[in-house]
Amino acid sequence: MSDSGLNLLELHVDEKYFKKLFDLKKEYKLQYFNARFNTSLSSSFRLEKSIMKSAHNFNNYGFSIQAFVDGGFGFSTCNLISIEELENSFREAAKLAHYSSRNAEKKFDIKELDPVKAKYIQPQKKKLLNISADEKAKYILEQDKQARNYDDRIVNTISSYSDTIKHELIVTSDERIIDLTSSYARIMVHAYSKEGNVNQSSRANIGITGGYEIVDMGGKVGIKAAKRAIEILNAKPVNAGRYDVIVDPYLAGTFAHEAFGHACEADAILANESQLAGKINQKVGPEFISIYEDPDIENGYGSIKYDSEGIKAKKIALIKNGILAGYMHSRETASKMDVEPTGNGRAQSFTSFPVVRMRNTYIEKGDWNLEEMLEELKNGILCINWNYGYTEPNIGQFMFKMERAWQIENGEKKQLLRDAALSGTMLNVLNKIRAISDNVMMDDGTCGKSGQHVPVGSGGPYLLINDISIGGM
């Protein structure tokens, strides 16, 4: 991208717009509003078997108004930024807020905060705007070729590169004016292997906040994916049943995010849809367990400086030494529960309203090493990486599909296993953790909630867990 890229990231929203917003607030008798003006530039490349299927550029542009009165929210979006459209959308959002308030649960107010004016630009070691489309295309082609050439048994590859620079101006009715420029990049390679009648696949990925330095951080993504896809050809289906297991840091992160994190989101607590409602300061796990939510991990895929409501994001403890320490909050949930917002009010884009979302969620490290844990496990399963997972916070039930696993006999890896799924109920499993390793690794992912997808990080150490249900073939 060149100068035109820089121009497209300008918003041209000035004092005139701010004045109009505050005038409209008075006119429509609102208690709170959050206006978000946005422009973003994205580029993406997708290859299959080294054939470029898509080479795309996207300029997203527009604004949204979230209006609030007497316990009811209204929300309106528009793809044009002008004073006239601002008036139209504000009117619509205000009308909807008044409509919502008629049937709202209770009349509460969004707690007013101190005015603040801040500007933050996500640092990029290698600026995305300085990297040509040609360079990005060549990079991802190279990853794809490396995956394809790794072994004759690799029969297909799908590789993608994507990046986004987003400029957002958040203006709230309590005069919090936050000017944010954030940037993300992600690389993913899927490799498909075949031997005889056995087909398998695996993926490797990296996602960061930052710039084109991702290509230096990612290493040989294509080779990693291909190596795993070949390894898993020798895997056997796991026999369903109950096992003692060790889960690797990526699965530990999935547990922290899916099973525990979602249950700590204050909107689920307020909606009576979490098992953790009413359990603050209660013991929920062994005392050697702590889980944190940290928005400030360098290059973390879920790292943010401010959330979509203009709140500075801060690190919070969800569990500290086995005690439930806190929930994640948006301005709405913090106001209802009379606590400080935590900077977890995130929206996928300006076209979505902010809801309580995680950033980077991880389990704190312990003091075992993996060898000691395998010895302690003796017989069981070492579960590696995840394909996908989900949870039902209200009953605490979760399921994670793991990428592969090792059958462990007498503390040693014996047979590689595939198509295994791990399930349980969150508090039950939390209390079955017996040992935690002394290293934490983070992973990148995309979290879906309320129809919105946001980048998140999750991670942890190796966890030794007793007697857990494994589903298989």
Partner: protein, 465 residues
């Protein structure tokens, strides 16, 4: 009083104008050999219910235009914009063109869709009422949500919502395709969370369901049944039971039939997956993959179908096809790109996201054949087994293996549905599984664009205690 023009009509004018501008501007460049413009505008309204109360109402208009350009060797470059102004459209074309130049040759690309002699004589159905619907017109549906917690004091939370939308799309390409279409949709989602103290211990359950239609009035037709059935599932789910590990017969609900039978099949016959070794059905064309009475048809002409349309998103005419006939796989699904790869005709199953540059493949209205059973007869045949209502997992389409969690399921004992299952996993090999279907119910239930019966399965591997 100021005359305010329908915002969707304003956007539609902008969309048409931007598309015309683009098609004229692109022609300036000789190096652009083929091009396609796909655009859409939409007005949507959504109302969110939380804890039995109205939490948020949202509305918005959105627009998008995607331009795909192809060079001499099939090299592609594309760009999308949202604001539909001519300067933006011009920038998008320049950006797409410069990306096209650095893109790689694609020997698989053989061209874009050409205008057919004739499109089928069917109309996409849309709801004129939705065009003029205001949020005040939804009050009776919202009231139904607000009244629901009074039904049972064990209800901890009612969540869900209502949404409707009204949109227009436009498809133009360099071969002369020039099409527009209208779409409307109305959907409702309901979630219950219930709690009861049983033997001094809190037991929770939850149940979710939803439906999507073309016509808003159809929500009124199903709302009571949807609330009643979802409530019953949540109520029955409070008392849970662990099933021992083993193989048990099962009755599948229509939505379980969707997840375990029709969705894996329709996804695995995507010709792009087949071509690139990503489908477990790769070698099964004209082979038997299921029991004799397994027949699945895809009907894009179905009256009232959610995905009924005379053409797909590339402009290819649609036509009904047989996917499985008497257990034999009869067809893969093609878009224009895969049809060229297979040297055949597109089946008219091109699909794409809202402004996505990638053309995918997906089925239209799916009809699975009915059988002789009633649901009650299926259940009464089972001494010990499972009523499998839903899993949120999905099959591994590469291997054809499917393991996951029974998200909602119930124990069947002595021919009757009993308690809900707790922490129950399942594992199936789909090709084996399709041969274990013992029968289908006489009646079919509509789930979005699929019309599905209940199914009786001879055995599935479950793991619990």
């Amino acid at each position: 009083m100021k005359n305010i023009k329908n915002p969707l009509a304003v956007l539609e004018e902008r969309l048409n104008s931007a598309a015309q501008f683009c098609s004229a501007y692109i022609k300036k460049y000789d190096e652009i050999k083929l091009w396609e413009i796909f655009g859409g505008v939409q007005r949507s309204v959504g109302i969110q219910i939380e804890k039995g109360y109205l939490k948020e109402s949202a509305s918005g208009t959105t627009s998008a235009l995607t331009i795909r350009l192809f060079g001499e060797h099939g090299n592609v470059g594309s760009a999308s914009i949202k604001d539909l102004s001519n300067p933006s459209a011009k920038r998008a074309i320049e950006k797409a063109k410069s990306t096209m130049k650095v893109s790689l040759p694609n020997p698989e690309f053989k061209g874009l869709v050409k205008p057919p002699n004739k499109y089928p004589d069917i109309q996409t159905e849309w709801d004129r009422d939705i065009e003029n619907l205001t949020i005040d017109d939804t009050t009776d549906v919202i009231d139904r949500f607000l009244q629901e917690p009074a039904r049972d004091k064990r209800i901890k939370s009612i969540s869900g919502g209502l949404s409707y939308s009204d949109g227009r799309i436009i498809i133009i390409n360099s071969n002369g395709i020039d099409l527009t279409d209208k779409t409307t949709s109305a959907s409702i989602a309901i979630g219950y969370t219930m709690e009861e103290i049983i033997n001094g211990k809190k037991e929770n359950s939850s149940a979710y369901d939803g439906q999507e239609f073309i016509y808003f009035k159809e929500i009124h037709n199903v709302i009571d049944k949807l609330f009643d059935e979802t409530y019953k599932k949540a109520e029955r789910g409070i008392r849970k039971h662990k099933i021992e590990t083993g193989k048990f017969p099962a009755v599948l609900s229509p939505r379980a039939v969707d997840v375990l039978i029709t969705t894996p099949i329709c996804s695995a016959i995507d010709a792009e997956k087949v071509y690139h070794n990503r489908s477990f059905l790769q070698y099964y064309l004209n082979q038997k993959i299921g029991v004799d009475f397994l027949t699945i048809n895809d009907d894009p002409w179905l009256k009232g179908g959610l995905l009924t349309s005379p053409f797909d998103v590339e402009g290819t005419p649609t036509k009904p096809i047989s996917i499985i006939k008497n257990g034999v796989l009869k067809s893969f699904l093609h878009n224009n790109y895969t049809a060229n790869l297979f040297d055949t005709e597109s089946t008219g199953h091109a699909s794409r996201g809202w402004y996505s540059p990638s053309i995918g493949i997906s089925s239209s209205n799916i009809l699975l054949n009915t059988g002789d059973y009633t649901k009650e007869e299926m259940i009464s045949e089972i001494q010990k087994g499972v009523y499998f209502d839903i899993t949120y997992d999905h099959a591994n389409l590469v291997t054809g293996e499917f393991s996951g969690m029974v998200s909602s399921g119930f124990l069947i004992e002595e021919g009757e549905i009993k308690n809900a299952l707790r922490e129950t996993m399942f594992g199936i090999n789909l090709i084996d599984f399709f041969k274990k279907i013992k029968g289908f119910s006489k009646n079919r239930v509509r789930k979005e664009s699929s019309y599905l019966p209940f199914a009786l399965i001879s055995d599935i591997s479950f793991s619990g205690q």
